[in-house]
């Protein structure tokens, strides 16, 4: 298969790995890591599908992914600040089933 399709499949795998970790892990920092891995997977699929051209790759997809990378880092920064606030308010940085007192 062409390299583009191979990387697209890798992107699908990364997305699924990240989704599994997002659901299963309770610690907030791990959830943020999982979200970033999912985002990387989606970007990989986008750029891989954009590389299917004969000559130069599709620049619109590259622009979307650059935008996406910047938005992902902004969201990560905000999520980390929120995690620290959750930690300050409740004493732990995890989401659990136990009722908090």
């Amino acid at each position: 298969m062409s390299p583009a399709l191979l990387y697209a499949l890798v992107g699908v795998g990364l997305f699924t790995l990240g989704l599994h970790a997002l659901i299963v892990q309770a610690h907030l920092l791990r959830k943020i890591l999982a979200l970033n891995v999912m985002a990387s997977g989606v970007f990989l699929v986008l750029v891989a599908l954009a590389a299917r051209t004969q000559g130069a790759p599709d620049p619109v997809a590259h622009a979307m992914v650059i935008t996406g990378i910047v938005v992902a880092v902004s969201a990560t920064a905000l999520a980390l600040a929120l995690m620290l606030r959750v930690r300050a308010a409740t004493g732990r940085a995890e989401l659990t089933e136990e009722p908090l007192e």
């Binding site: 390299p3 990364l14 920092l29 791990r30 970007f43 992914v65 880092v73």
Partner: protein, 101 residues
């Protein structure tokens, strides 16, 4: 000519496998510091993937933002998470970090 194509496909396959493996190890590692370092390495391999997909702008953006800044943000948050750990209950001392600098 044929050997070069074969080498390129082998490189792509190896890179894809390494990406998936690193993502899995980063998300499943019990030590948070190790998980973040593995995630930074994952970002660096993503830069190689962008270069292989003819996306140099995305590679530059990922190298600076996705790897450098996200890694710095995550490590700073981990340090702040652990620095208040004297008030934390003893039940989740799962991460050991070395705060240098």
């Amino acid at each position: 000519m044929e050997a070069v194509a074969l080498l390129q496909s082998a490189f792509d396959a190896l890179l894809g496998l390494a990406l998936l493996w690193l993502a899995w190890r980063a998300l499943a590692s019990p030590d948070l510091f190790k998980a973040i370092v593995l995630f930074i390495t994952f970002g660096l391999l993503m830069v190689l993937a962008w270069v292989r997909l003819d996306a140099p702008d995305v590679a530059l953006a990922e190298a600076a933002i996705g790897t450098g800044l996200t890694g710095a943000l995550l490590l700073a948050a981990l340090t702040r998470l652990n620095s208040k750990s004297d008030t934390k209950p003893a039940h989740e001392k799962e991460q050991r970090t070395e705060t240098h600098n």
